[in-house]
Structures are given as C-alpha cells and as structure tokens.
C-alpha cells in the first residue's frame, strides 16, 4: 500500500492511485497471493480440466460407453492402445463389457464429481445455518447443537454412511443424503468457530449501534467474514466426499450400476487385476487419485492464502 495523499487536503487526488485502488479488490489480492505457488496453480489448472471433462463428457468421449448399440462384447478386455473392429482406438483399453475405458472414466468423473459437489453444497448450507444459529443464539441452544456435532464427529464417516445406506438402499439421492449426514458437522463446527470470533469484533458492535437488525448483522456482516475458512474446509471435504462415494460404490452399497462412478469402475476392474488386466481398475483409480490430490492441493493453498493470521 502506498496511500500517501495528505488526508487533510481532500481535493488533492492522485488519479493513478485512485485507479489502482478500484482494481485492488479482495478478489484481485486473493488471485495474486494464490499464484505465489506454481504447484498450486498447476493443481488448479488440472482441477479445471477435470471439471471441464466432467461437464462435457458426452461430447468429448470417443464413444458413449452406455449405448448398447455402440459397445460390443467382442472388444472386451483389450489392452491400452488397441483398435476396435471398426478402427476406433481404445487409448486406455476396454473393460470387461467391451466399453472404451477412457470414455467410461470421463462419464465416471461426471458422476463422481456431481455427487461430491452436490453433497458438498447441501452440507455447506445445512452446516452453515446450524453453525451460525449456534454462534448467534448461544447458551442452551448452542450447547445442544454442539454436542450433536461432537457426537457426529466421533463416529467415522464411512460407518455413518454405511448404516444409512443399509437403511435407505441404493440411488444417487440416497448417497447424497448419506454424504451430507456424514459431513455437515464439519461445516457447522467451522462456521461456529469463526462466527464466534467475528461476533466480538468492533464492527459488529458498530452495526448494533447503527440500529441494524439481527438478520442483517448475521448475514451481511458476520457471514461474509466466515466464508474464507468455509471455502477451505469445503474443498477438502468435497475431496473427502468424492473418496467416500468411491469407497461406498466400491463396496457395492453406493451408486447403482446404471450410474457408474469411478468407484464402481474400480470395483468392476478389480476382478481382472489378478489375471494381468491391470488397466481396467488402475486407470479409473489414477483418475480418482489425480482428482482428489488436485482438490486437496488447491485446498491447501487456499488455506494459506485465506488464513487471516498470515495476511499482511
């Protein structure tokens, strides 16, 4: 910062400075800080590509792996780099049903990511509301909510999801519910912790002094200042959600075979591992690994950049 205009002569305006000032928004600052680490930029680029692939899977995949008219059982278990009868290349080989593995992975990413992100968003909304309510209400309400959160966090997420799915059965909606239930508590705890800190700041007292309503203070003043830690936890938890979904699908309790996520692809290929047909399980596994690692790396950098204690 080089704000050096004399404060007592307001008519003097350094125009160049006024211009740079309007550009120096928190977003700009955030981007420039984020780009300090080339590794994190790389991770963000990879993640961006993965998201693009997931969104445009139907248009960029070499074949529609779930169109029975296209898939041929005669192409089954072909190694990477082989060609179909009609000459289409299978870059990553084919699976047990003769599907192009690359296409299956693209479609699998689409399902894994959308389930993970949907669960993440719902869990954030639920957790945030509960956490804010706890922090602002205080007293008994807060105690009650936070004990539920503690209880929830003391159980492994896989266990909660397994029990729920055993009750609910299979399906995209069911697994999203299971993931939300397994994860909302993390968000609630995070939001409450930062809201408690923000609540004591002088700007909240100032807002009370200015006669602003409770809802406005909570949502316009406190909440925007709690977003940063929420984003950090959100990225990491979304990665967890994707991994958890893969685990559940691998175990056969997650998504139905009609919605083949990466976890399901790995499970299907697992049978062929011992017969040397490694690619059917390994390539979806690598895709899952890259996705989760890149999300986590982005999350790590976000934590460093958004950490108020490290901010100058």
């Amino acid at each position: 910062m080089s704000a050096s205009d004399p404060v007592d002569t307001p008519t003097v305006t350094d125009t160049t400075e006024a211009q740079t000032a309007t550009v120096d928004t928190p977003l700009r600052r955030f981007l420039s800080d984020y780009c300090d680490s080339p590794l994190a930029v790389g991770a963000a680029v990879v993640l961006f590509l993965i998201i693009l692939i997931a969104i445009f899977a139907p248009w960029i995949s070499p074949q529609d792996p779930y169109d029975l008219a296209v898939v041929s059982i005669f192409d089954a278990r072909m190694p990477p780099g082989s060609y179909a009868m009609d000459g289409t290349p299978f870059l990553l080989g084919t699976d047990g049903a003769g599907r192009d593995l690359l296409s299956a992975i693209f479609y699998g990413l689409r399902i894994s990511l959308s389930v993970g992100v949907a669960a993440g968003i719902i869990a954030i909304i639920v957790g945030m509301s509960v956490g804010l309510a706890a922090a602002y209400a205080g007293g008994r309400t807060e105690n009650l909510i936070m004990r539920v959160v503690d209880l929830q966090l003391s159980l492994p997420a896989v266990l909660i999801a397994l029990i729920l799915l055993a009750i609910l059965g299979k399906g995209v909606d069911k697994i999203i519910i299971a993931l939300v239930v397994a994860q909302w508590a993390y968000y609630a705890r995070t939001v409450r912790a930062s809201a408690l800190v923000e609540r004591r700041r002088e700007y909240v007292e100032a807002a009370a002094c200015l006669g602003l309503g409770h809802a406005r203070i909570v949502f316009r003043h406190i909440l925007p200042n709690c977003i940063a830690p929420l984003i950090v936890v959100g990225t990491v938890q979304t990665a967890h959600a994707i991994a958890l979904e893969a685990t559940l699908s691998f175990l056969g309790v997650g998504l139905p075979p009609t919605e083949p996520s990466l976890g399901l692809l790995i499970a299907n290929g697992f049978d062929y591992m011992l017969s040397g047909k490694y690619w059917i399980a390994v390539f979806p596994g690598v895709a899952l690994l890259i996705t989760i690692v890149s999300i986590n790396m982005v999350g790590d950098q976000l934590r460093d950049v958004l950490n108020p204690r490290l901010q100058k």
Binding site: S2, S4, D5, P6, V7, D8
Partner: protein, 333 residues
Amino acid sequence: MSEPPVLEVSDLKTHFFTKAGVARAVDGVSFSLARGEVLGLVGESGSGKTVTGFSLMGLVDAPGRVVGGSIRLGGEELVGKSERDWRSLRGRKIAMIFQDPMMTLNPVLRVDTQMIEAIRAHEDLSEEAARERARAALARVGIPSPDERLVAYPHQFSGGMRQRVAIAIALLNEPDVIVADEPTTALDVTIQAQILYEVQKLCADTGLAMIWITHDLAVVGGLADRVAVMYAGRIVEEGPVGEVLDGPLHPYTRGLIGSVPSHNRRGRRLTQIPGMAPSLLALPPGCSFAARCPRADSLCTAMPELVPTEGDRAVRCHHPHRADEPAIEGGSA
C-alpha cells in the same frame, strides 16, 4: 565525557528485500551511547526505530538484512558476526526488552527455570549460585517476595510484573547495553511510572546504558539523557533531551512536539503535521519529510546531511529552526 562510548553505531543500513521492492527501513543511522546514558529513540510507526533495535541485537530476519555500516560494542565490531557469535553476545553484552514481555518469557516454564537457564547459557555457575543471582535480579526490579515469585509461571503475573520479570532476565548477565522497545506502551499509567522508576534507578546505580525506543515524547522527556528522532529510516535530529524538546531544530520534531496535547493550549486546535509518513518502498528523492514540511523548497530535493550544531546537537535539514524559537506556538489554524 572522556570515557570511550560503550556502543557506537555508524551508518547502519538495514534493508528489507520484499516482493514489492527494497524497503530501506534503516538507512544510515549513526549514534553513540556512553556508560549510564539513556538514549531515547523516538519515531512513529514505520520510522525504523524498532528495526534499528533489532539490528543492534542481530535479530533481523529475512527478507531483511543489515547491508552496511558498523556497530561497535565496547570496541568490538558486531556487523558480520556469525549467528553463533551473536548467541554468545546476546544476553551477556547486550540484551533486549520487548513491548510484549511474553516475547522473552516461555509460558510453560517456571520463572526460575528460565532465569537459571539464561545465566548458565553464558556462565559456568552452580545451580544455587544461579538461583541466588536470579533472586537478586527480581529483587532489583522491585518485585516483592522474590522467592515466591521465582517458582511461579508467567501467567500468574500481571502485565506490569511480567515486564519487570523480563527486565530482570535482561539484567541477569549484567549486559553493557539494554535495548528497550516500547516496554511501557501497553501498561497503565501508574504501572508505567513504577517501571520507569526502577529503570531510572538501575541506570544511575549500575552504569547500565540503555536505548529506549518509543513513540512517546513525554516518557523520553522524563527518562532519557539524549534523544534521537527518526523519520523514514533516518535520524533527523539528535541532541540532549532538554535542548531538543525545548528548541527543536527540525520541522518534523517541531511538528511532533506540537501534536502532543499540552495544557497551555487547552481546547485550541493542535498543530498538526499534514499528511502521513511516506511508504518506505516509494521514498521521494531528497528529504523524506519535504512533502509534509511547511519550509520545503527546491533545495529539499537533495538529501540533507546530519550536520552537528552547537551544544552537542545535530540536525538533518536544509532549513532548520533556531534553537531559541519557542517549541510550541500558540496553536495554529
């Protein structure tokens, strides 16, 4: 003053190499300190007074670096010493007191453990002898019942007591110089007075020399022998405390003194220095104060030197005031 000075700093330069450019936090600072003398180092935030203190202790961390000048302590050159040499010097020859005493104190260790450790780091002394010296140090800074206090943890002390313990730790190895960085700023008025009282006694009794870094001119006026006023990394005026405060030569010193509310101008507007301190990354060429100075003219685009004037004083200004002008005008518009 025929005795050689205990500390002699000349042309000290400490720069910070940041992403946004080189910040010349300390840029050619020179002063000397005699035995038993208290030098008040006064300046506002960003003037480089704290970095000067850290440089004297060899405590400047990356991206900062002492890039030039010399620090001679008892005739020994400190600039360029290895970290190992610094460790043996710090605490033994020169010690520091911080604004927050918890910078010195470890919250999970008892006071006696920390003090005995600090003594035995420099001297081969028996545990009993070290404890006795720690007890004496606590008593010397006016801590009641030092035996009980020795076995307490830092959190069991009040803020003022904690600062006393920090001072006692600084005294343990009888250093020649203590650098005190705003040690009473966070304390209440009555507690501050207690600490100032102890410090004053110490310097008079033991010949300890002290650099008292502060923004508070009033404290310096009551405590120090000499004062050096810093602005944007340089000393702009130096001299005996009475002369400087009564007849400041530099327009900045004059402005600073005018900014302090004083009872003879009650209710009137304070003299204010317009604007604010320049960024160290974008210092104007020439005198750094010129942009805020009522006396600035074309001459001030060249950096003035710190020139000695009569009465053991020095000023860095092309257009200094006369020493016999009254320090405070009757309030300006």
